[in-house]
């Protein structure tokens, strides 16, 4: 039982990291960045390339190396996120929502198949792998890597929360999320803040990607697709546009999946997750922590 809870929490922290980026971007420009899951995948591939370039330099399996690679990967993924926003989403900021969504689908495809062209369709073994002896706690198997990864995720989330809630730039983000035109009139550099949001959101997704690659061991070009959907589900469950909601939603989804698969069997896992998504959207579209947003005509 505790094993299920622990596994759910672990997987949930990944979902939460990716859901944060999703939620942030949606909150600020009301766009579902369909390509967000693919940034997760990009993060892991960039780390793959970086480590490949430095093999033999230092020992494998060391945490400091992982953190260094994590940082590089986060910066790179953040940059790519900003690039995507400039190239694909900014021109469509005033277009109907449909166009922007379709463009997002196109961007997602482009990223996935570009990676496929470069790296091939076969999953690649991630050179830096974390392994550790499991410890028994309350009847659940816990390993050091799991603890470390969850700690990293928690640190990132705390940093994000401080940034958004207590810094000037964070205030700017929240202002734009409330009313873009008013923020512009108040002197907020909307373009810059949006780029910054994309940077942070994408960096978080990239971080999740690197950690998942190190923990599970393989990366392939489609790994972002499923995560993207799960992240969206998590964001919706928690309340989209709401940061705490994304974190809560991620954890809740992880737990739901963990229990669901143990009750119904592995092949129904995705059906379970999507079923919950639909239930939430129908009965509580604002999610667990969301507020009712008045739609202005």
């Amino acid at each position: 039982m505790f094993q299920l809870i622990w596994d759910g929490l672990f997987v949930g922290s990944f979902y939460a990291l990716v859901a944060l980026g999703y939620s942030m971007v949606y909150g600020i420009i009301k766009l579902l960045n369909f390509a967000h899951g693919d940034l997760y995948m990009l993060g892991s591939f960039i780390a793959f390339v970086v480590i490949g370039g430095f093999t033999g330099l230092m020992g494998i399996g060391s945490i400091p190396i992982l953190l260094l690679v994590l940082l590089i990967s986060m910066l790179a993924t953040g940059g790519i996120g900003v690039l995507i926003e400039r190239v694909a989403y900014r021109p469509l900021r005033n277009s109907p929502r449909l166009s922007a969504l379709i463009t997002a689908v196109g961007v997602s495809f482009t990223i996935e198949y570009a990676v496929r062209q470069i790296f091939g369709a076969e999953p690649k073994v991630f050179p830096l792998q974390l392994s550790g002896q499991p410890m028994q706690v309350l009847g659940a198997r816990i390993t050091m890597p799991q603890l470390i990864l969850m700690a990293v995720a928690a640190v990132l989330m705390v940093l994000l929360q401080r940034y958004v809630m207590h810094s000037r730039e964070g205030r700017a983000m929240r202002a734009i999320a409330l009313d873009q035109n008013a923020s512009l009139l108040m002197g907020v550099n909307v373009n810059k803040v949006i780029s910054r949001t994309f940077f942070i959101g994408s960096a978080l997704a990239g971080a999740a990607g690197v950690m998942a690659a190190a923990y599970y061991g393989t990366i392939d070009f489609l790994m972002g697709f499923v995560i993207g959907l799960k992240a969206f589900t998590a964001a919706v469950i928690g309340g989209i546009g709401n940061l705490y909601g994304a974190m809560v939603g991620g954890i809740v989804l992880g737990l739901l999946e963990s229990f669901g698969t143990s009750w119904f069997g592995g092949e129904w896992r995705d059906v379970f997750a999507f079923g919950f998504l639909i239930l939430f959207l129908v009965f509580k579209p604002t999610g667990l922590l969301g507020e009712r947003v008045v739609e202005r005509v």
Partner: protein
């Protein structure tokens, strides 16, 4: 109210209405003629070359056109982004597949059940979710697409991961296409018969019916809801019901395309209904031109035939599609053949220029106490604020 007994003459129009264009180059007549020519060309084609390969890929392409027309109703006319449209094709294909292989029905008999199943699917999927905003709708439809695919993969009755094979081709009341047909000394084998069937019934119905629907009252309701739902509601159009109608009609066409595909391939499996295929048919509609019949046909032909002709470059296919989608959305969001486009050499109505109305009287001169130097500034200001 009593019938009015006095006739008020209608006021004369301010301008005379320009006459309608006529002749061969009138847009509607020309397009209809082009459609007729293409239709006849497609019908005559098997007489020129009956190679099984050509017939096979053309049948696939035509089924794809039917599918794309279905999605055109949802995305093009009603403006609902559906990322899981292939689920309806799956419903149609599996329903007729199960009925024909496990219950021994003929394809023809399975059609009413297919229609019912698609209506049910449309209601189940669209019912709760069409109240949501368009962004949420997109992901939810994707989720439903996955749910249907995974369910088909897990259940025994749908054949599990292997799917269903041995699906018979069309048959009417005992006479099956399989037996072939002899007409005037020419034998038509079952594949050719299916080709004609898809051409006449599938394309004929789909293209004509769907485009007529788009031009009718329901089509106008869709357009209005797509442009601005709140205003439509104020005008008395039930946005929810209109969108649901679009969804259900799209579902029926998707299911019909699924039935045709099941008969054509004789085997279906869950792998054919992955998200990738939903995205591809969406690309066909978007690239071709949302809401425009010729556009969607072009888009569907492109997406279904390009992989065949570019067999050597199949690896680049999806990357190319992704890039194309982004480029088209940024630079030509209405698609290759937009809904309101008219070929440049066709006649357009000549609309006379309406002369500006003359002033009725001059009231008086402005009492200008600031003199002429301000006139220059005022004019400059007026230029600036225009």
């Amino acid at each position: 109210m009593a019938k009015s007994t006095f006739n008020l003459p209608a006021p004369a129009p301010t301008i005379t209405r320009p006459p309608a264009v006529s002749g061969l180059l009138a847009p509607t007549r020309f397009m209809r003629l082009v459609a007729l020519v293409l239709f006849i060309a497609a019908a005559v084609l098997p007489f020129i070359s009956a190679s099984p390969y050509l017939i096979s890929i053309l049948t696939s392409a035509m089924i794809y056109i039917v599918l794309a027309m279905g999605l055109n109703v949802v995305v093009g006319y009603a403006g609902l982004l559906d990322l899981g449209f292939i689920a309806f094709m799956a419903v149609g294909a599996y329903t007729s597949g199960i009925l024909t292989t496990q219950f021994g029905w003929s394809m023809f008999e399975s059609i009413p059940v297919v229609v019912l199943a698609c209506i049910a699917a449309g209601l189940i999927i669209g019912g709760p979710t069409l109240r949501l905003r368009s962004d949420y709708l997109a992901i939810v439809t994707l989720g439903f697409g996955e749910i249907i695919r995974i369910t088909a993969k897990n259940l025994q009755i749908t054949g599990g991961a292997t799917g269903i094979h041995g699906i018979p081709t069309w048959s009417f009341f005992g006479w099956s296409f399989k037996d072939g047909l002899e007409l005037g000394g020419i034998t038509f084998n079952s594949k050719i018969l299916l080709y004609y069937f898809v051409l006449f019934v599938g394309i004929g119905l789909a293209v004509v019916a769907v485009s007529r629907l788009g031009k009718g009252k329901l089509g106008r309701a869709w357009k209005s809801v797509r442009d601005d739902e709140d205003v439509s509601e104020a005008m008395g159009i039930n946005g929810y019901k209109t969108k649901l109608m679009a969804y259900i009609i799209g579902a029926i066409w998707g299911g019909f395309a699924g039935t045709l595909m099941a008969a054509h391939l004789s085997a279906i499996s869950p792998n054919s209904f992955e998200f990738l295929y939903s995205a591809l048919v969406l690309m066909a509609v978007v690239l071709g031109g949302m809401g425009s019949t010729p556009g969607v046909i072009i888009g569907a032909l492109f997406v279904s035939l390009a992989p065949e002709f570019l067999r050597d470059f199949s690896e680049w296919r999806y990357l190319l599609f992704g890039v194309l989608l982004v480029v088209v959305m940024i630079f030509r969001p209405k698609g290759i053949w937009p809904a309101t486009a008219v070929l440049p050499f066709l006649k357009k109505r000549n609309i006379e220029e309406v002369p500006p109305t003359e002033a009725v009287t001059v009231v008086g001169e402005l009492d200008d106490e600031f003199g002429d130097e301000l006139d220059g500034k005022r004019n400059a200001n007026e230029e600036g604020t225009r």
